[in-house]
Structures are given as C-alpha cells and as structure tokens.
C-alpha cells in the first residue's frame, strides 16, 4: 500500500511540476516583446518606477487585428522609450463581457475597444476613466490633432456628456445599387426615397435577380435595421427606439413589402451579413445597405460609378426632416483602473494621429479623422470617398440604452415577424413590440 501512496505522490509531483512549468512558461514569455502583463507585474513595475526611470507597461485590447497600427507601435515606443505597449485582440463581440469580467478580477487592460453602443454599459458599471481633464489637456497642447477629429469621435466614447476615450474608427452603412440591373429595369438615377427603392426593387426582381438584399437572420445585432430606421427618420427616447411611430410602422411595412412582393430573397430570413453582401457583390441583387468597409471588396468585382453606385441612405416621404445617417463606431475606452493616464493619453493621441489612422483607414474601416478623409491618398484609394465627405460630417451615433441587448432581441423579433407576415397590420405589430420594449426599460 505504501507503494500506492508513492505512486500517488509522484502523480501530484508531476502535477505540481506541470503547474510550475506552465507558470514559468508564461513568465518567461512575458519578457518577450508582445505579451500581456498581468497585474502582479504591473505592480512590481510600479514599485520600481519610484526608484528609477518611469517604466510603464500598457495593455491595449483591440477588437480586430486590423485595427492595430501597421507599425505595431514601433514608432510610439521609439518616441516614448519608457512606455511598452502590449496589444491583444479580443473580438468586439466578446470585448464588453471580457472587459467587465477582467475588471472585476483586476486583470483589465488599460484601453479597451468595444462597439460604441456598449460604451454606456461600461460607463454605468463605473469601469471607465473620466477623461475630461486629459482631453482638455490634449486640446490645449495639440489643438490641431484634437480638432482633426469630428465631434462624433468624442460623442461615441462618451456617456451622458462624460468622455471616456476617443473613437478613431466609425463605419456608416450606405445605400448601394447596381447600375447594370438598374438599366435593365429602366432606371438610371439613384432613388431619393425608400418608396422608390421598393418600386425599383420590384422592377428588378425577376426570379433570377433580387431587388434589395437584406439581412433577415438573428445572427447579428440589428444595426442594419436601425440604420435604415434612422434614415427613415426613426426616433429614440433616452436611447430607446420608438417603433410605434410613423418611421417604425414604415420600416416594418418596408420589410413586409420586401418579403411579400419577393423583392428580396426567399431565404432572406436566414440571411446573415455575408449572404446579404455576397448577393450584391456577385451582381445578383440590385440594391442594399452596406458598410463603407466592404466597398473595396465590391470594387474588386465591379467598377464604381460604372457598374455600381452608392449614396447616403434615401429618406422616407414625410420623414425628411428627421432623417439621420447612423454610424457605428469602435471607440478606444480607458479603464478607470489604469495607473498611467498620462501614458494612456499619449497612446490615444498616437492612435488618432493622421499618419497612423491613414494606414488603417486605407485598408480597413473609415475614420472620424477629417484630415485622413480628405487626404489625397485616401481619396485616390477610395474613389467613392469624395462623394461622402459631406455625409461623413453629418453622421450621428446609434443611441444606446443599458438594456441594449434585450431591446435588440425585440427588434429582431419585430423584423422577423414582418418578413414572415407580409400581410398583417404593421401598426399593430409596431404597437405590440413597442410594448415589449417599454416593459424591458421601465
């Protein structure tokens, strides 16, 4: 039996060894360039900093690999030899949750990137740092770079007037149309109203081609739906969309007509962003609402202004005055547990600098930095950009509520019911779902 115990003991020894080794693994790899710092380490560096030169480590969570500057902060670290930047990629879809959890466990990054409609949640959980003074300092010291950012850049990173960071990249959804299909159907001009969109769509739909490509599934947050809603003059109260309004009824009726008149694909209710985009890019669909960042891919398949065109979204007849161009942004927010707000500010300034933003915007998402938007290089790479310069200045953020995800679920319910029941009364539907939304937020 003693032997048994020896066997057992050696197993435990092995287990301990494994634990030891793997800890060693992480700690040794921590000395390499791009690695996370865990809290213990930042603490030790803090202790050291009082004695020697300030050695600062910052951890940044990017929502996509593509948002990381091309030089991976090389220039930044050269200019600020005492600051070391660690970048990790936490997908935007998970970043909010991960950040909340990490903050509770003191394992949070200094800067996190989340979708702009989640800024509110993080702010109300009191996890973000009020950057008012730091931003004022920025404006004072370097007003050029500060003023290059449109107001939206600050709005999307704020909650109830308090700024928590900066939004460098924001993507609007624009209306796109296929000129060849338009011609075949006897149209040449981009529609001005959503009524015309339906009319042209019906003319294009012939069983082979579809008039309007749309996302009908619940795979994503209903940002395409809300963007259309806002272009139709849809209103929000305290961040809550008002479906039981003219615009609300109109958009539900719009989806009903898409499905009922076969203007969109029969499978639209199962379509995700990908199907929707592919239908337009492959020339199957006549019209769609597509994010600016997809335009380069469209351009690979067709030629702008010859085969396809784009414009800010049409309006609803009667809703012209309330129409708005919605953008979804991906702000960089500052954790309130950061110990180096000064260094964080420098990092934010670097991320917003025209030079850095230009590289990212050229290959990825558009930006809130106007210097980049009007940069010759940008205008050359994105032939459509010039047509949208004015619209970019008018972008508004998607209003949000702390119960955003619950509201989204109801909106998806409403959208899907509209697609499934083209003949039922849109007004009743709007009332029904508004009631559900109001119940959530009361």
């Amino acid at each position: 039996m003693k032997r048994n115990l020896i066997v057992l003991f050696s197993i435990f020894a092995a287990l301990m060894l494994v634990i030891g080794c793997s800890q060693e693994d992480t700690s040794t790899s921590n000395t390499t360039d791009d690695n996370t710092s865990n809290t213990d380490e930042t603490e030790t560096t803090n202790d050291e900093q009082t004695e020697e030169v300030e050695e600062i480590e910052l951890t940044l969570w990017f929502g996509r690999e593509d948002f990381i500057p091309d030089d991976a902060f090389e220039q930044f670290e050269a200019e600020n030899p005492n600051i070391k930047i660690t970048t990790d990629v936490i997908p935007l879809e998970n970043a909010t949750e991960e950040f909340i959890r990490a903050s509770k466990a003191d394992n949070q990054p200094d800067i996190v990137q989340v979708p702009s409609d989640r800024t509110k949640i993080l702010a109300e959980q009191q996890l973000l740092l009020d950057m008012t003074d730091h931003l004022a300092q920025w404006k004072q010291e370097n007003s050029d770079s500060y003023d290059a950012m449109v107001p939206l850049a600050w709005d999307m990173a704020s909650n109830e007037g308090t700024p928590y960071g900066v939004t460098v990249h924001a993507g609007p959804f624009w209306y796109v149309y296929n000129k060849n299909l338009f011609e075949e159907a006897g149209y040449s001009e981009a529609p001005k109203t959503w009524d015309e969109v339906l009319e042209i769509g019906e003319a294009i739909s012939d069983g082979e081609n579809i008039g309007f490509s749309v996302i009908g599934s619940r795979a994503h947050d209903p940002v395409w739906f809300l963007s259309t809603f806002m272009s139709m003059g849809g209103q929000f109260e305290d961040g809550v969309p008002q479906l039981n309004s003219d615009a609300g009824e109109y958009i539900l009726n719009f989806y009903q007509q898409l499905a009922g008149k076969d203007i969109t694909d029969k499978n639209a209710i199962a379509w995700e962003a990908d199907n929707m985009r592919a239908a337009f890019i492959t020339g199957e669909a006549g019209q769609a609402m597509i994010g600016d960042n997809i335009f380069p891919t469209i351009q690979e398949a067709m030629s702008y202004n010859e085969d396809w065109g784009a414009s800010p979204p049409p309006v609803r007849p009667g809703g012209e005055s309330d129409a708005a161009y919605m953008a979804l942004g991906w702000p960089y927010l500052v954790s309130n547990k950061t110990e180096h707000p000064e260094a964080v500010l420098k990092a934010l300034q670097y991320l917003s600098s025209t030079e850095i933003v230009k590289d990212v915007a050229l290959r990825y998402q558009p930006t809130t930095n106007v210097e980049v938007l009007s940069h010759p290089e940008y205008l050359e790479a994105k032939p459509w950009a010039a047509d949208f310069e004015e619209a970019f200045a008018q972008l508004v953020e998607l209003p949000s509520h702390e119960r955003q995800s619950n509201i989204y679920e109801v909106l998806l319910d409403a959208m899907q019911e509209a697609i499934q029941n083209p003949d039922s009364d849109a007004k009743e539907m709007a009332e029904k779902y508004q009631e559900q939304i109001d119940q959530i937020v009361q």
Binding site: M1, L8, E402, E409, E417, Q420
Partner: protein, 290 residues
Amino acid sequence: MDFSYKQLKKKSVPYVLLIPSMLFVIGVLGYGVIYGVVISLFEVNVYSLETPFVGLKNYIYIFQDPTFLNSLYKSLIFVFMSVVVGIILSLVFAIALYKLTIMKSFFKGLTLIPYLISGIAAATMFKFLFAGDVGMVNQFLSVFGMEEVLWLADEWLALFVIILANIWFVTPFAILILLAGLQGIDEQIFEAAKIDGASKLRIVFQIIIPLISSMIGVSLIWLSFASFNMFDIILPLTGGGPGRSTEVLAVYLYKLAFNDLNYSMASAVMIVIMTLNLAVSFVYLKVFKV
C-alpha cells in the same frame, strides 16, 4: 502495527485512489455548479451595480417569461426528436455493423468521425448543406426536378435541420455503445432462435432489444444529455431563428450569459437544464435498469 490501523489503511485505499479524479471533478466542475446555484439566488447582471439577494425571484421570473417557456418547449421537442430518431438510427446502424462480415473495422472507425469534429466546423458544414439555393441538398433535389426547399427560412424545417445536425454529431458514440452491447450477447441465443424459426424482426424485438436494454439506457442518457446541452451547433447554424423557433434552452442560456450579461438569470436556466437532465436520467435508470 496494530490491526485496526492496518484495516483503516486498507479501507482508505479506494478513497486515496479517487483523490486525483475527484479533485479535478469537484474542484473544477463542482465549484462551477455551486457557484451557479449561489449566483442564481442573487441579482447579478450588467445593468445594476448592486447584487442583492433575491431568493427564488429569478426562477419565478423565467417561468413566467414567454421567451423562456418557448425555449423550454423547443428544447423538449428538440431533445425528444433527437433522442427518438437518434436511438432508432443508432440501433439500426449498430445491428448492421454487427452483422457486417467484411471491412468491419473500417466502417466502425468511420462511424466515430463526426464525434471528433468541433461544433463550429460541424455547424458550418450543415449551414452550407442547407443554405438556400447554394446548399447541396437543394441542388441535389433540383436534379430530381423538385422545387427549392426553404430549409433555414421556415420555422419547422429549421428545427428539423438542427435536429438532423445534432443527430449527426451525437449518435456516433451511441452507435458504438450499442455495438458493445450486441457483441456481448451470446451467439448461441441467435442460433437457438433461428432453429425455432423466429423471424428476423422477432429476433430484433424480442431477443436483441431486451438483452441490450441497459446499453440502450446508457445511449439514451448520452443522447439526451448531449442534446439538452447543445448550443455550439445551433448558434452558428440558425442563431435561434427564424423567429425564436430554434432557440432551445442552451441557446437561450448562452444569449443570457454572453449577450445580455445577465449572470443570475443564466445560472437559473443552467439549474433548470441540470434538473431536466437529472429527471430524464432518473427515468431511464428506472425503465432500463442501467
């Protein structure tokens, strides 16, 4: 060394042997369950800062919530169909494999392949099998002049598709368990039955099934557990839609925990799923005397 010490030592052997496995199971999984039970009695979510003790309020809430009740209903259909079709399919395949005379090990090996594939990969496969007019299934049907079927756009067909995908994913293991049962049967019983002139169907129903009833029980438990907890195939495949037609409990739980960040409610749903699993396995244990 006195007698009682020796005896104590001897008695302690099984416990000592179990220490490592129990450390892992209780330390990791048991901890998770207890944490879940505790949190389900509080109100921990992302839209309030306080986390008050609320007792059974979360449970009362979900049982009045139509979304939850819909999920429960869909879950029961999903699990019932998966288990019934799954066990019949497994039994048929297991008997065929058992009766196979050549290439037996090749096909036995082939059977387990779906089980080794990750959920995301399996979901992607099924998505493109059934997706609109691109899907292979519809292209296949069109060869026979049949019209395009809107597999994922119809509420019941979508449910059918996720049941099919689930069965594909979880039955391999059940097939092998049943095969194990079959191979444990004494060949002489079959010979005797044949001499008695029993028909093939009678052999299956009156001899094979009763003899492997405990294996059937184990397979049923396996199939129901796996089906109740399945979300990694459904979520990428349908996202719970169209409507909420494929939003089974595990998907509902996932959305609560990862989209709404409503941890307490998610834990309450977890406890409900656990209870259902326990109840189901209890029934199987009684019926099949596993």
